[in-house]
């Protein structure tokens, strides 16, 4: 077992091998070869859906894939407007507690079962069944009773008026599958391959690899042009990019910002920048000294150069937050951002009695959101410039959630970083859950203990108000008040980058991080 380096020769060999290796690394990549099959569109996504059973879906990849197979009552366009899907029309009684939906007639599931009100009712009841325990059951939390009142007439009774019900019903997770598939299914069992009414029929799920589907010739809407659709799961971003460059994939999702420019320079590839619905913020513990002092909260908002974070870390593919919800959300009004002004920040801190600086602790997650720890480090740096000496603490995600879920009397945190996706695209979900006094830990997700009487009033009223224009006014006022109170350091809204081959048209990039291919076509 003795290994001696007898001659320098071996070293020379090893070094030249290493040199050759480094040389090859530096070589430009070969040109991409064209291997596009014209009847199949291949989309590479970063994560495999956890499930395509409506009650088990929790992620954007699941929604993206699922949408092609299963449909819901109402569709939300990329601009947030609600249009008929499986419900042709809908109406509410005078106080908006009883909603009636006219289900589209002549629609068949992929297994030939007819779509009717009862089929929808079965699905919705399953969605809210506590024994099934759907993670997103809260979307229909206001619904008390689901009844098929006619062959094609569905009635939903609410406990009290709930204005966002329509946008909640448009959520991609509330998909309708064939009742034949649900028959005899125990509450804990899940559907593997959903049978829906969508433009594509799902053929196979090769776990860990891909999902394949083919066109639904019996589709009630416009039949897609492309015969086959394949979703490949390629977790590694660099591998997804190679797949797109070689033509192995026609479109890819989640392009890292640092690769976007290089891809965009490729004439065969189009890069698409889209907003998302997730806001990243650092909340103060608003009931703890010195964060009870508005000047301190304002100072920290002015101390952070949000634009530098967005440009420097996200390569421009994020948006400086101008409100507590993103611009794609109904009710959003741009009221910010707080100007980056370190002098003003120092002044405010001095006024608050911290002329000599201030020690704070910021808790942040690692690896939960893109570049989360990196952003926390950047914030730490910027705060140091105005005399705020921030200590960063990171924790395991589960501990982190528990740590930031303490009631006010036992909450040990001063500042913490979190993100929130307003997945209903309605301000109610973005503001009520995070900033209403009723939602203080441990009752909800107001982990920073923000409280403003007028804001509470507005958010409660906007929940039951049915006139969209009035709701928008209410949210505008609430957002302005919240912004002025500065309960968070408002940071940025995440963006998303997708890319596709230039010869593919008609892809829909949705702010909800969905990529839809039913209108896609190949350009010759």
């Amino acid at each position: 077992m003795r290994t001696t380096l007898r001659s320098g020769l071996t070293t020379v060999v090893a070094l030249s091998l290493a040199a050759l290796f480094l040389f090859l690394l530096g070589c430009p990549a070969e040109t991409a070869e064209e291997t596009v099959t014209r009847d199949t569109l291949t989309i590479a996504i970063g994560a495999e859906p956890e499930s395509l059973d409506p009650v088990n879906m929790t992620s954007a990849p699941a929604a993206t894939v699922g949408e092609h197979v299963i449909e819901r009552l109402i569709y939300m366009e990329t601009d947030g407007s609600l249009v008929p899907m499986l419900a042709e029309s809908w109406s509410a009684n005078a106080d908006s507690t009883v909603w009636t939906f006219n289900i589209r007639q002549g629609v068949e599931f992929h297994d030939g079962e007819p779509l009717n009100a009862e089929a929808v009712a079965i699905n919705l009841r399953r969605f809210v069944d506590p024994d099934v325990g759907a993670a997103y059951a809260f979307l229909l939390g206001s619904v008390q009773e689901i009844t098929a009142v006619g062959e094609y007439e569905l009635e939903l009774r609410l406990a009290q008026p709930f204005a966002p019900i329509l946008s909640h019903l448009s959520h991609s997770f509330i998909g309708i599958v064939s009742p034949a598939q649900l028959e005899g299914l125990s509450p804990s069992d899940a559907i593997e391959i959903p049978v829906g009414t969508g433009p594509y029929v799902m053929n196979a799920w090769n776990r860990g690899e891909s999902i394949t589907m083919s066109v639904n010739d019996n589709y009630w809407g416009n039949t897609p042009q492309i015969e086959n659709l394949v979703f490949n799961f390629i977790p590694e971003a660099s591998a997804r990019i190679v797949a797109l460059e070689t033509g192995e994939a026609d479109a890819i999702m989640a392009v890292p910002p640092q690769d976007a420019d290089r891809l965009d320079a490729n004439p065969d590839i189009d890069v698409v920048y889209e907003t998302s619905v997730r806001t990243i913020y650092i909340s103060f513990n608003n009931v703890r000294e010195p964060f009870t002092d508005r000047r301190v909260r304002l100072a920290m908002n002015h101390a952070i150069d949000k634009q530098a974070i967005v440009d420097g870390l996200f390569g421009g593919n994020a948006f400086v937050a101008d409100a507590p919800v993103t611009s794609a959300v109904f009710g959003h009004t741009a009221v910010g951002p707080y100007e980056f002004d370190p002098d003003l920040a120092r002044e405010l801190l001095a006024e608050a009695g911290f002329a000599d600086g201030l020690d704070v602790t910021i808790h942040h997650p690692t690896g939960r959101y893109p570049l989360d720890a990196t952003v926390a480090e950047a914030v730490q740096d910027m705060l140091a410039d105005v005399g705020v000496n921030a200590t960063l603490e990171t924790m395991e995600w589960s501990s982190y959630l528990a740590f930031t879920a303490q009631p006010p009397e036992s909450a040990e945190y001063e500042m913490f970083m979190l993100g929130w996706g307003t997945v209903t695209l309605d301000s109610d979900y973005g503001l009520f859950a995070l900033l209403h006094t009723q939602q203080w830990n441990p009752n909800g997700n107001n982990r920073g203990f923000y409280s403003n009487e007028r804001v509470d009033e507005l958010l409660s009223a906007a929940r039951v108000e049915t006139d969209p224009a009035t709701r928008e006014e209410m949210y505008a006022e609430a957002i302005q008040l919240i912004w002025d109170d500065a309960p968070w350091i408002f940071l940025y809204n995440e963006g998303q980058i997708n890319a596709s081959r230039s010869d593919v048209g008609g892809l829909i990039h949705h702010p909800l991080e969905n990529l839809s291919a039913w209108d896609a076509f190949f350009i010759d």
């Binding site: 077992m1 290994t3 071996t10 929790t58 899940a190 776990r207 860990g208 996706g421």
Partner: protein, 311 residues
């Protein structure tokens, strides 16, 4: 011999029980609240409570452990909190892929390692010997995930000879198998070489030489058979280590096996899957060790069966 095997089997019972205790503890001794971790950040308090009940996290520990053991005995490892599918199904789908990867790696490692070891031993101190032993040293020292990235960068991204990740054709297997097998190949080359050198010094080889047998016959007919006994042992152990080591390789190459399943599950806090995969890998390793010990006892007459097998 049968008595020896029976004794060894009996000895694995407490080991299996101990593994079950450790696997069970993974979730229960976690910092923080597992129910909250499973439910997620946007969960309502009611949903967190539902989760707590569904996973019996509200029961006392010994009751939970009883439920866990009952489940294991029935082949029920619970459901993934992420996909909500039975953990056994998840594992059953991915395990054959890990097995494939580990087998190909082992094959590569054996052919390269044993081959290089034999040649090195017979041409001691030649350029080949020095070069291959140097490469073997580097092979053992190189972090497997780094090697994976470098091979990927070179052969998939720059040269475009092989696919970077995923599985499908035989071309997908090459890079991960070479990566995973490199350390084993290096180790086997070194062990084969030293074992071979030791045997070549023994009396019967000298006798064979004296009888005028050709060097080729001496090496391949007489020496090799004896020299390979320790190699076979290492080979078996390496197979188990490869199964476990696949965690890093599978992650880099997005190879959808149990290793990646485990890492994904840890990062998603999908604890039932963490428990299941750890349990499976540990049990397999125990089983492989058992088989290796039996084979070793069979091959090497010097082992006395009444021994505990821990020699």
């Amino acid at each position: 011999m049968y008595q020896y095997i029976a004794r060894r089997l009996l000895l694995t019972v407490p080991v299996v029980f101990g593994v079950a205790v450790i696997v069970f503890s993974i979730v229960r001794f976690l910092p923080g609240d597992p129910a909250r971790a499973i439910a997620g950040v946007q969960a309502t308090p009611e949903f967190i409570e539902q989760v707590r009940v569904r996973y019996a996290l509200d029961e006392p520990l010994h009751v939970q452990f009883g439920l866990f053991l009952q489940g294991v005995a029935r082949g029920d490892l619970g459901r993934s909190t992420f996909t909500r599918r039975p953990v056994t199904t998840e594992i059953a789908e991915r395990f054959p892929r890990t097995l494939l990867l580990a087998s190909v790696s082992l094959a590569i490692a054996t052919v390269l390692g044993v081959g290089a070891g034999i040649v090195s031993a017979t041409r001691r101190n030649s350029l080949f010997d020095n070069a291959s032993m140097f490469i073997a040293l580097v092979g053992v020292a190189a972090p497997v995930f780094w090697l994976a990235l470098m091979l990927q960068l070179l052969f998939a991204v720059q040269l475009r000879w092989l696919p970077a990740t995923g599985m499908g054709s035989w071309r997908h297997v090459v890079l991960p198998a070479v990566t995973l097998g490199s350390a084993s190949a290096a180790l086997m080359a070194r062990i084969t070489r030293s074992s071979m050198l030791e045997v070549l010094r023994l009396d019967f080889i000298t006798t064979a030489r004296a009888k005028g047998l050709t060097e080729r016959v001496i090496i391949y007919k007489h020496a090799l058979k004896n020299a390979l006994i320790p190699v076979v042992t290492v080979l078996g152990l390496q197979f188990g280590i490869l199964l476990g080591g696949a965690v890093l390789t599978e992650t880099v190459f997005a190879w959808p096996g149990v290793g990646r399943l485990l890492v994904d599950a840890i990062l998603r806090r999908d604890y039932p899957v963490v428990q299941g995969t750890v349990m499976l890998l540990a049990l397999l390793f125990v089983l492989i060790n058992l088989v290796v010990d039996v084979i070793y006892a069979y091959l090497d007459p010097r082992i006395h069966y009444q021994g505990g097998g821990e020699e």
